[in-house]
């Protein structure tokens, strides 16, 4: 049996056991707890506290400050199986409560639980995981007064992406990335005709010479154009962020992120200065308002 089959086999075995040992509510349904609930939630219905709010059904049998699951609680057992298989995180996804009748102060409820469904492995936004659904049944004496289908996703968290995408370095661009590491913003210069050019390339677009050198820029310029990036998400970035096309004093234009500014405040012509941002093995040029 592979790992997935083992999980499904454990689920079948737990589901076949049916309802677990009932857990009796600490207190009978009572007016003070109803009043605490309606007060906290701001529910002013005149129906309460003569009857309990139906949505309180789960409250009566909560485990309190020191909850203890019964040994045969199927959710606890299924969580152990999935933990052991590496699905260590959990998030609740659905709650479906059905009330058969209103309950009144004085009734003492008890709850049982059975494993209803285990589905997986599923690829989700949070990571690969299994949807586990349990079926809770509340009784007053022998009478079923309420039920709940409760679903959780038990998943392997995706590793957090913190590194940004590194630039591609070629023989034509290596001088530029060597420069940023030493705090120099380098602009390619044609050694034949003296024209500056960016981005770097092997051939001068003006005279076609193949012999580039570089000059060091002042690092000052103005926003020539810009975009505010909202979507999609970019590894290592929090959206929204601003990407500016900056016209340097020397006359070439260079792209980079514009930092520390509300996207609403960016405008064409904004004076900016270069700043250097370490990113993995690289140092990226970015811009700040001056």
């Amino acid at each position: 049996m592979n790992a997935d089959e083992q999980i499904l086999a454990a689920a079948r075995e737990l589901a076949a056991r049916g309802e677990c040992t009932p857990r009796t509510a600490r207190d009978p349904v009572n007016e003070p707890m109803i009043n605490n609930w309606t007060e906290a939630l701001g529910d002013n219905s005149s129906a309460y506290p003569a009857v309990a709010p139906p949505a309180m059904i789960q409250v009566w049998t909560m485990g309190g400050l020191h909850p203890q699951r019964s040994d045969d609680d199927p959710l606890g057992r299924m969580m152990e199986v999935l933990d052991a298989a590496g699905y260590t995180s959990v998030v609740a996804t659905n709650s479906d409560q059905t009330y058969h009748r209103l309950v009144k102060p004085g009734e003492r409820l008890a709850v049982t639980s059975r494993l209803a469904d285990v589905v997986g492995p599923k690829r989700t936004a949070l990571g690969e995981g299994w949807f586990v659904t349990t079926h809770n049944i509340w009784r007053s004496g022998d009478e079923v007064v309420g039920e709940m289908l409760w679903s959780v996703l038990k998943f392997k968290p995706k590793p957090a992406v913190t590194a940004s995408v590194p630039p591609l370095v070629s023989r034509d661009t290596a001088f530029f990335w060597d420069g940023t590491k030493t705090g120099e913003l380098r602009i390619q210069k044609c050694s034949a005709c003296g024209a500056l050019r960016h981005p770097p390339g092997p051939m001068c677009p003006r005279c076609n010479a193949l012999d580039p050198t570089y000059v060091v820029a002042s690092g000052l310029g103005e926003v020539y154009s810009y975009v505010v990036h909202h979507h999609p998400q970019v590894p290592g970035k929090r959206t929204p962020f601003v990407i500016a096309l900056v016209e340097l004093e020397e006359g070439v234009r260079m792209l980079g992120e514009l930092h520390d500014i509300d996207p609403e405040q960016v405008k064409i012509g904004l004076p900016v200065r270069v700043r250097y941002v370490p990113s993995g093995e690289f140092v990226l040029p970015a811009w700040e308002v001056r």
């Binding site: 007060e39 906290a40 939630l41 219905s45 949505a55 789960q58 909560m62 609740a92 709650s95």
Partner: protein
């Protein structure tokens, strides 16, 4: 299609904590900001029993004290952190005799915190 009156909840830290205690949910993420942040949340956040209760309240505020709520079925979305404003809106999508089905959405600044349906028997 009947639209229900909107319900807006100012989700203060006091609201998050008092509702967590009133629903007997003592998980630290509902009352201890430091622990919530350690666990990767921005702040303490509303617990599910409260979300269920607010969905019910949104419908009974409209349906009145003599209505009988038969079913509350919700799908959870983005968390509802302290400091958020949570706004419920909804409409009747089906009517079967006295029983109405109400579609409910609770939104905050991050998106849909809760979506679902409530089945309620009207008086």
């Amino acid at each position: 299609m009947t639209d229900l009156p909107e319900l807006t909840i100012d989700v203060t830290p006091t609201f998050v904590i008092s509702t967590a205690l009133a629903t007997r949910d003592f998980q630290d993420v509902h009352h201890d900001r430091d622990k919530a942040v350690q666990r990767g949340s921005k702040d303490i956040f509303l617990n599910i029993l409260t979300t269920t209760g607010l969905v019910q309240r949104f419908v009974t505020d409209w349906a009145g004290p003599d209505a009988f709520v038969r079913n509350v079925s919700i799908k959870l979305g983005v968390p509802c952190y302290a400091g958020e404003t949570l706004t419920f809106s909804g409409s009747v999508t089906a009517q079967d005799g006295a029983e109405a089905t109400v579609r409910v959405v609770g939104r905050n600044s991050l998106g849909d915190h809760v979506t679902g349906t409530v089945k309620v028997v009207l008086p």
